[in-house]
Symmetry: C2
Subunit: 200 residues, 2 copies
């Protein structure tokens, strides 16, 4: 439990992509273990009164974010294409991530992000998700079946409700074992500094 | 012009406070000069359809921001009290900042931020602003007269319109000489890195 950090992420979220890609190596370099927590940000946005991404709602904010993503991905050496449409529907991807064992969730999630943001794939597409699972060495039909099971759907809904209860309103959000939230890809280092101070 | 960075700030903005307090020393350490650009974020928020701060509009976002401000101020060794009411009316402070010579704007702005966020002062209060000017070695009545002159009021309106035209939608925003925007206190280092690369 100490020296772990929860990464709360939404598959359609742009800034969750560079966060997911660097989370493991950045945290591992500081001896911190990542716990991957997919959730459905759209559900929380709806309760905030938003019907689409704030990046679509506010053109200046959107224009800034797309430029910022280009810069961040260039800096991290990541490919970047703008998803079309945006935001994509990340529900199935999140269900599959939920259904995987804890230690497989990170690699699968990174592969989905690369598909979406580096290769322009549609992450709601079952075939894309099945291929991604197979390439990760999983029994794709078995995982897909588990992902679409009511128990797993409920687990994802519960995890989204938990995010909301924890005060999470955006993605990515980093959460320390003592409950501190740090919102945004650029706050990972602050979260790791917090863990260093709280759990030396 | 090269190796300068514009700091676009709003006096009522919480994250502009730690940004203003560290801007000069962080930039000077890298040989970069700060250009202080006060503007009225409320005008831009109105055009985005908001009637108050998004931190008031969305309770989870507000709760996060107040906790984050506590952490950031503790890390920077800054006092922090929550302004009441929030947001404060920063119009007069912005007018005074506009009326000051370029090289006096930073010190005055920092003093106003400290008054608001470390001492709980009302920054719309004329006496507070006059005292702050006097303590900064200014002829307070003369500066106040210039600040309330129509020419200066128009200059501030124009600067706000320019912010909007540049795509600025939040504060603080850092702007490089080649027009790159970096939004947020935590992005100053990225903006300085950008300047290092563009203007070695």
């Amino acid at each position: 439990m100490p020296r772990t950090i929860e990464l709360w992420y939404e598959f359609a979220s742009t800034y969750s992509y560079p966060a997911a890609m660097r989370a493991h190596s950045s945290a591992a370099a500081r001896g911190v273990h990542i716990v991957w927590r997919p959730f459905l940000l759209g559900v929380i946005f709806r309760d905030m009164g938003w019907t689409t991404s704030p990046f679509n709602e506010h053109p200046a904010k959107g224009a800034y974010m797309w430029r910022d993503m280009e810069r961040i991905c260039a800096k991290q050496g990541l490919g970047f294409v703008r998803p079309d449409p945006f935001p994509q529907n990340g529900l199935n991807a999140a269900r599959v991530a939920m259904a995987l064992p804890d230690d497989a969730r990170g690699a699968f999630s990174r592969a989905v992000y690369l598909g979406q943001f580096a290769q322009g794939r549609d992450i709601s597409d079952q075939q894309f998700l099945m291929d991604t699972l197979a390439q990760g060495g999983h029994d794709a039909p078995a995982v897909w079946g588990a992902a679409m099971d009511d128990v797993n759907k409920t687990a994802l809904r519960d995890q989204t409700a938990q995010a909301q209860k924890l005060g999470i309103f955006g993605a990515p959000t980093w959460r320390t074992p003592d409950g501190e939230l740090f919102w945004g890809n650029d706050r990972l280092e602050d979260a790791l500094d917090w863990i260093d101070a709280a759990y030396p």
